[in-house]
């Protein structure tokens, strides 16, 4: 069952008189609870389609259906609501808030997602998720004192703590060595399987492919 459908999506970037069609009609179905890995040469449009799917930029053609609703027809505010409560994001760099402790980063996400938890439940939820990513012992640390792998684990915790339906990950392991990469992928796989989160992940690293349920290759703005 496809929970997420990318249907004939096009993206043209214009700068001045020059316009370049980067996506030339991308079709992709994401099945509920599956991890789909998106691979392909640099510049083929992987990040572009991922950010369009995630509601971070607009397509210039086609449809993006999340649970049957077309996101290309939604207002900014509707998309913001979906992003905050139904989507989670992990990127190449962790993008943590520099002045919040690990615990506060996650509490912030719970607030943003407007979950109906009280303060105590929120804290419980945070410590549960920190356990899952193996970061409980650093809950009072600030991002500046964490290693790259630790930051990425916190970023993953932040991406899933509000139990989103979708996880979008753009090269989540690119800044990590191969041992840390595998640890992080392990965590992503375990979490998304337990929480039944549908995942779209861009990666360059062949070692990561075994963690995916499905591998899709992009080339020149099209799915092969």
């Amino acid at each position: 069952m496809a929970i997420f459908t990318i249907d004939d999506v096009e993206k043209t970037f214009k700068s001045g008189d020059v316009s370049e069609k980067i996506l030339k009609g991308v079709d992709l179905d994401l099945n509920e609870g599956e991890i789909t890995a998106l691979v392909g040469p640099s510049g083929s449009g992987k990040s572009t389609i991922l950010t369009i799917a995630a509601g971070l930029q607009k397509a210039t053609g086609g449809q993006v259906l999340f649970e049957g609703k077309d996101m290309t027809q939604m207002s900014q505010e509707e998309i913001r609501k979906i992003r905050s409560s139904e989507f989670g994001f992990v990127f190449q760099s962790s993008h943590l808030v520099p002045f919040l402790t690990v615990e506060d980063q996650l509490l912030l996400m719970l607030d943003v997602a407007e979950t109906k938890l009280n303060k105590k439940q929120q804290k419980q939820e945070v410590s549960k998720v920190l356990d899952l990513v193996g970061m409980s012992h650093r809950k009072d640390a600030y991002p500046s004192s964490l290693s790259g792998g630790e930051k990425q684990r916190v970023a993953i915790a932040r991406a899933i703590i509000h139990q989103p339906k979708m996880l979008f990950a753009d090269e989540p392991t690119a800044s990590l060595d191969s041992k840390r990469s595998k640890e992080v992928m392990e965590i992503i796989r375990n979490l998304t399987k337990t929480l039944k989160i549908t995942t779209l992940m861009v990666t360059h690293d062949e070692d990561m492919l075994p963690y995916a349920d499905r591998i899709v290759t992009m080339k020149d703005g099209l799915i092969e």
Binding site: T51, L56, Q57, R80, K81, R83, S84, S85, F87, F89, F91, Q92, S93, S94, H95, V97, P98, F99, L100, D104, L108, M109, V112, A113, Y142, R158, D170, S175
Partner: protein
């Protein structure tokens, strides 16, 4: 607004610097405002102590009380028609004390009134500041235009005019010294909308103050400094938050990406601005009040708490505007920009 507070806690230095600048600027503003007010009292306490009303000068006087003469018949009629009306005159002059030392004073005389001390002929009531010059009740003062002598019968608090202490004398003595029969002005208390009276021009208290030479110029330059400082502090806010926001563009982008509302980002900035301004203002209001208590007696300084609060309010509004203007960039931040920018 936990996030805002947590940032202040984590980046103490940054906010401490902003806070101390706001503190210094507002403290300076309060001190100058205290001086402006002090000078204004020193210059015109006599008029400032009078309740609101209208001063009438002769139309031909070119708005200068010195040149004004009110016809005696008209004066009598006005005093009869208006309750509480007083005819009065002010002239700068000198008195000599028992040691023949000269003191510059402003001679003031008036018809019977509750507003000013009533003095009998050959008596004088002086502003209390002359006590510091060694003048006591019972002393005899002279004036070279005056055939008699003045006996000091009392002192009045805070009665100064044109930076000189006031000497209240009787009308008869005044008429002898200045060789005029007419008074310069008639004051009618309480009338907000002045009755127009034939041949006379009316001035409310504030307008009358401005007919004092030097008063307007003095106050204008001090007020200009005050408002200049207020505007500078507003610009400081704008610049400071602008720089902070530029640094945080990436952060704002990522917060927007995960779904934080733009208004929450603004509230975060407002909260920080309010917090810092409030703390700085409490400190500078407190310190300037202390200063006003310990200021040397000779220093014209007067800073009523109401003035401090009013200026504080202005600072808050200005800070809010400054921060908000610089916050427009928050609105423009695209989440995607931040993600592509890489590690923060």
């Amino acid at each position: 607004m936990q996030m805002a507070w947590k940032e202040v806690k984590k980046s103490k230095m940054k906010f401490l610097i902003l806070g101390s600048i706001i503190f210094l600027v507002s403290f300076l503003t309060f001190i100058i405002s205290g001086l402006a007010n002090g000078l204004s009292e020193d210059n015109a306490a006599l008029i400032k102590n009078v309740p609101n009303g209208q001063f009438y000068l002769n139309e031909d006087a070119k708005q200068t009380y010195n040149l004004s003469k009110i016809d005696i018949d008209q004066q009598d009629k006005l005093l009869a028609d208006y309750k509480g009306a007083t005819a009065m005159s002010i002239q700068m002059g000198f008195v000599n004390d028992t040691d023949d030392k000269q003191h510059s004073v402003a001679f003031v005389t008036s018809t019977d009134s509750e507003l000013f001390p009533n003095v009998k002929d050959n008596e004088v009531v002086l502003d209390a500041s002359l006590k510091d010059d060694g003048i006591k009740v019972g002393d005899i003062l002279t004036n070279n235009q005056f055939s008699g002598e003045f006996k000091v019968v009392g002192f009045a608090e805070k009665q100064t005019y044109s930076h000189a202490p006031v000497a209240f004398i009787s009308m008869k003595n005044y008429q002898e010294i200045y060789r005029v029969m007419e008074m310069q002005t008639v004051f009618i208390p309480g009338s907000d909308s002045p009755d127009s009276i034939k041949g006379l021009e009316s001035f409310n208290n504030k307008e009358f103050l401005n007919t004092i030479p030097s008063y307007g110029a003095e106050q204008m330059s001090l007020n200009m400094i005050i408002w200049f400082l207020v505007v500078i502090s507003g610009m400081l806010f704008a610049i400071f938050f602008y720089m902070m926001n530029v640094q945080k563009i990436g952060l704002y982008g990522i917060l927007k990406a995960i779904g934080v509302k733009t208004i929450s980002l603004f509230s975060m900035m407002w909260y920080q601005m309010l917090l810092i301004t409030a703390v700085s203002l409490v400190l500078s209001v407190g310190l300037s009040q202390v200063f006003s208590m310990v200021a040397p007696a000779g220093m014209p300084f007067s800073l009523p708490i109401e003035t401090s609060l009013l200026l504080s309010g202005v600072f808050l509004v200005i800070g809010f505007i400054g921060a908000t203007i610089s916050g427009f960039q928050i609105k423009k931040v695209e989440p995607l920009q931040a993600i592509q920018q890489g590690e923060m």
